[in-house]
């Protein structure tokens, strides 16, 4: 308590009393992120406004040997912004400025608290946009996107956050300020940017970023294709990519989700089918025209029950709004969901989706699939009522079985949500002990004191015995976590 009191005083001297939150009511706001099954409060929240303040905060934490965790908007789905071992939560929301836009070099210099969609709002008048577009882009921040190497609907063509991150200003876990890369996107030495993006705040805190912008395409077309069989939809996905068509988006919506979305948004997605594909093509007019013709020819080789093209921009935007709002539509059925984020080779999509259906029936849980088919990035959304302990248990077990099925076909645990605390115990399912040890050496390089976002990514020792059980209800309760 004495240490905490002294630390709070130090923090107040850095950012001002108004930007240090320590009362129970204030801390309750930060007890969870979008991973709603885990709740844990920080000891104190601090809201810096500059790189220098972040550096001073981290030095104060080092001095007190108190762990710290960075947080953007709290939209993360893996519990990455939770202080599972207590400590200081560093909220970056005040660092929300777009510092500059360079239209000639197509870059933007931003602070981590900039909301993803704000950047597009600022750049679209210059004919440019920022491509990584997670479904939460209206709320999530660029700092969080960088921490998780976020993807989104358009990353099948444009790449993920790392592909658009040219340089960073980082405060190291020891409180030093380092610049990596730059507007040129190159490194003198190892690619520090490549190591830091996606490191979930465990190797340092990003306080500025130089990001790449891309030209708004001349033409965009969205096609909707409906399939009586999931297998046909999955095969079309593989064929589209193998043909070299390079769609700007390729999303699959299963029947359950189509019905749910229609009920919520009245979009008119086909419901008497097994799967719907949304396929977007963009580029110059000639390329889009040619690609569209090839796509129709390709689709007609398969058993597609319906093909339509969005008539106009309004309809195109409505389709994407429905896709991005799908998970919120699930809320009409059950109040929460547990989403997985595994990535598999595209050729494995069809058999895996059938397996997921079987797993859902086995555990008597509802699973909606709406995901980035072009990337092989599955998002099985397992619906649940967090107040129903039995249901939560079944959901956890189903989730673990889904992950095991994905790994068995050469998949990986996460494509864009990160490991956080939610999937840390599953890491031994993908990596051997030796491999985890090799990976953890990197943490030691950047954070020898192990203060930066501890308890994330790697299974913690007390959970080692439960790694095969996954994130079980008992584990959650034993850790004092809310369920």
């Amino acid at each position: 308590m004495g240490t905490l009191w002294g630390l709070i005083k130090s923090l107040e001297s850095i950012v001002g009393k108004a930007n240090v939150l320590a009362s129970p009511e204030e801390l309750a706001v930060y007890e969870c992120d979008a991973c709603v099954l885990i709740k844990t409060q920080p000891d104190v929240v601090v809201l810096p406004a500059s790189t220098e303040e972040v550096a001073q905060i981290i030095k104060a934490c080092n001095k007190a040997h108190v762990p710290f965790v960075a947080r953007g908007a709290g939209t993360g789905l893996s519990g990455g912004a939770l202080t599972t071992e207590g400590g200081v939560l560093i909220g970056l929301a005040r660092m929300n400025r777009i510092l500059s836009i360079d239209t000639e070099n197509k870059t933007a210099h931003v602070q981590p608290g900039v909301v993803n969609v704000w950047l597009n709002d600022a750049t679209c008048s210059h004919g440019l946009f920022y491509a990584p577009d997670p479904s939460s882009q209206a709320a999530c921040t660029l700092g969080g996107n960088i921490a998780e190497n976020a993807g989104g609907i358009h990353c099948v063509k444009y790449g993920v956050t790392l592909d658009h991150t040219l340089g960073l200003t980082v405060v190291t876990p020891e409180g030093d300020v380092v610049k990596t890369g730059g507007a040129h996107g190159q490194h003198l030495g190892p690619s520090w940017t490549g190591l830091l993006v996606g490191s979930e705040g465990t190797l340092g805190i990003v306080t500025e970023a130089v990001v790449r912008l891309v030209p708004v395409p001349q033409a965009i077309r969205v096609y909707q294709a409906a399939f009586a069989r999931m297998e046909d939809a999955a095969e079309v996905v593989s064929s589209i990519m193998a043909d070299g068509l390079t769609p700007s988006a390729l999303e699959l919506i299963d029947a359950f989700t189509a019905k749910t979305v229609n009920a919520a948004f009245h979009i008119g997605l086909p419901e008497d089918v097994d799967a719907v594909l949304l396929i977007e093509l963009d580029g110059d007019h000639i390329s889009v025209e040619q690609a569209g013709s090839r796509l129709i020819t390709l689709l007609n080789r398969f058993s597609v029950s319906q093909i339509r093209m969005a008539e106009d921009e309004t309809e195109r935007l409505a389709l994407w709004k429905a896709r991005k709002g799908a998970v919120s539509a699930y809320g009409r059925i059950l109040p929460a969901f547990y989403i997985h984020d595994c990535v598999v080779p595209r050729s494995q999509l069809a058999p895996l989706l059938r397996q997921i259906e079987t797993i859902g029936q086995k555990y008597d849980v509802l699973i909606g699939n709406v995901f980035h088919a072009g990337d092989g990035n599955l998002h099985p959304n397992i619906l649940l009522d967090p107040n129903d302990a039995d249901m939560v248990g079944r959901v956890m077990a189903a989730g673990k079985e889904i992950l095991e099925a994905c790994l068995a076909v050469g998949g990986v645990l996460s494509g864009e949500h990160g490991i956080g605390v939610e999937k840390a115990e599953f890491m031994p399912l993908q990596f051997t002990e030796e491999e985890l040890a090799v990976m953890q050496r990197l943490k030691t390089v950047f954070d020898p004191q192990q203060l930066a976002n501890p308890g994330k990514i790697f299974p913690t020792p007390q959970r080692c015995g439960e790694t095969r059980a996954g994130l079980s209800l008992a584990t959650l309760q034993a850790g004092g976590l809310w369920v």
């Binding site: 070099n105 190497n149 993920v160 790392l162 040219l166 190291t172 030093d176 300020v177 380092v178 610049k179 730059g182 507007a183 040129h184 996107g185 190159q186 490194h187 003198l188 030495g189 190892p190 690619s191 520090w192 940017t193 490549g194 190591l195 993006v197 996606g198 490191s199 190797l203 593989s238 193998a242 043909d243 070299g244 580029g283 000639i286 390329s287 090839r294 990535v343 598999v344 080779p345 595209r346 050729s347 092989g376 050469g410 998949g411 990986v412 996460s414 494509g415 490991i419 890491m427 990596f431 030796e434 491999e435 985890l436 040890a437 090799v438 990976m439 050496r441 990197l442 030691t444 990514i457």
Partner: protein
């Protein structure tokens, strides 16, 4: 301390030969390489992979990866291929082409993949594809102490743990040796069109190059270069994709080249042109003449102003130049004569740093008196600390090349 070769306990299938370069070991599997590294660690014997590393220390062992050179798995439905990294790019392309696929990366065909992954030299393909490392979705690596890690695979997205590809690619084997890689491939385009333009005037060449880059959507290759052998400036352009798109882009390129004498334009340069120029523009390739090669990193629009630098740095007039469009980097080269002095390079480095860029010496001839290590050092103290710790963690016995602070190809003892 480097001790003479003592490898008594290596498995029999590991070839050991001695030639004019010294001792070579040739593992035939990742497991064999692990044993070699473990043995090297125990005996404190330096191990240097062939191709593209710093100079070989006395009594070091050369690592020859040529027995790890097979295509393990081609997955056209995933647009991926998994290979052992001793395979040359030429051999890989030969394996892919009959199936209708290729690796969209322009480089000397006889460079082995492990060398490219370690050194990530600037390629003309980076205009369209980004660096080669961006095409790698999975790696298998033997770390400096003999441990082995497999990261990624036949998946195009992955945020599972730390992305160790960025630790082992582009780091010149210092932390480990990549023995296996999964790479993205592409269907051979419906049509490819290559053009080569020539201009005597720097201003004219830059103007045309800029217009081409601004007006051609996604060229596969677009590079401006000058070499002492060619006299004047070349623009190499390649567009690829659907037939109609390629024809339209080729027409636009020809319009942008209008006004140049017809004898100085090659509208259909084809594969022979690429085969001629791609290796000759790979200046970090040991097969290219020994020379001083600088890599300059700046935002693209600043690089396009390089002709203005000559007022402050007249010695640039003697440089070969290679500037691929939109990559944020360019190469400068001097062979044999007119090399800048060390003090001139230091001034140039500061000039570029003032514009938020950097200059790196990537190749230096043996006779050049320069503290390359110091020149290439990242000045940030925290980065120096990271580099020391990385070496401790991943190259604990110091048997792999200690590049950082960087020492480029061909460097001998520093003055």
């Amino acid at each position: 301390m480097i001790k003479p070769l003592v490898f008594p306990f290596l498995p029999s299938q590991v070839e050991r030969i001695q030639d004019e370069r010294g001792w070579l070991v040739r593992p035939d599997s990742t497991e064999a390489l692990q044993q070699i590294l473990k043995q090297a660690g125990v005996t404190h014997t330096a191990l240097y992979p062939e191709w593209g590393t710093a100079s070989v220390a006395p009594q070091a062992i050369l690592l020859d990866m040529s027995r790890l050179a097979t295509v393990i798995r081609l997955r056209p439905e995933e647009l991926m291929v998994t290979v052992q990294t001793g395979i040359t790019v030429g051999a890989l392309q030969s394996a892919l082409n009959p199936a209708g696929y290729y690796l969209p990366y322009a480089t000397s065909p006889n460079r082995p993949l492990y060398s490219l992954l370690a050194d990530t030299p600037l390629s003309l393909s980076e205009t369209a594809m980004g660096p080669l490392s961006a095409s790698v979705t999975g790696i298998r690596v033997v770390v400096g102490d003999g441990a082995c890690i497999h990261y990624g695979g036949e998946v195009v997205k992955n945020v599972t743990g730390y992305d160790l590809r960025h630790l082992f690619m582009g780091t010149h084997h210092q932390y480990g040796i990549v023995t296996q890689a999964t790479l993205k491939i592409a269907p051979i385009p419906e049509q490819t069109h290559t053009m080569l333009f020539f201009s005597e005037s720097t201003a004219d060449a830059l103007q045309r190059f800029t217009h081409m880059g601004q007006q051609i959507a996604a060229p596969r290759i677009l590079a401006l270069f000058r070499t002492k052998m060619t006299f004047g400036w070349h623009i190499l352009a390649q567009v690829a994709g659907y037939r109609q798109t390629v024809q339209e882009q080729a027409q636009r390129l020809s319009q942008l080249a209008s006004g140049l004498p017809e004898s100085l334009q090659n509208w259909d340069a084809g594969d022979k042109t690429m085969a001629h120029w791609v290796p000759r523009l790979d200046w970090t390739n040991e097969e290219e003449p020994d020379g001083l090669v600088l890599r300059v990193a700046l935002p693209h629009s600043d690089l396009l102003a390089f002709d203005t630098w000559q007022k402050a740095f007249p010695w640039m007039d003697g440089a070969d130049v290679c500037l691929p469009w939109g990559t944020g980097q360019m190469l400068l080269r001097w062979i044999s004569v007119n090399m800048p002095y060390a003090t001139e390079l230091d001034s140039f480095k500061r000039f570029i740093q003032d514009q938020n860029g950097f200059v790196q010496i990537v190749r230096v001839p043996s006779h050049y008196k320069m503290d390359v290590t110091q020149f290439n050092q990242d000045p940030q103290p925290a980065v120096q600390t990271w580099l020391k710790r990385l070496d401790t963690q991943y190259n604990p016995h110091g048997i792999l090349p200690r590049i950082w602070p960087a020492a480029p190809t061909g460097a001998k003892e520093l003055v």
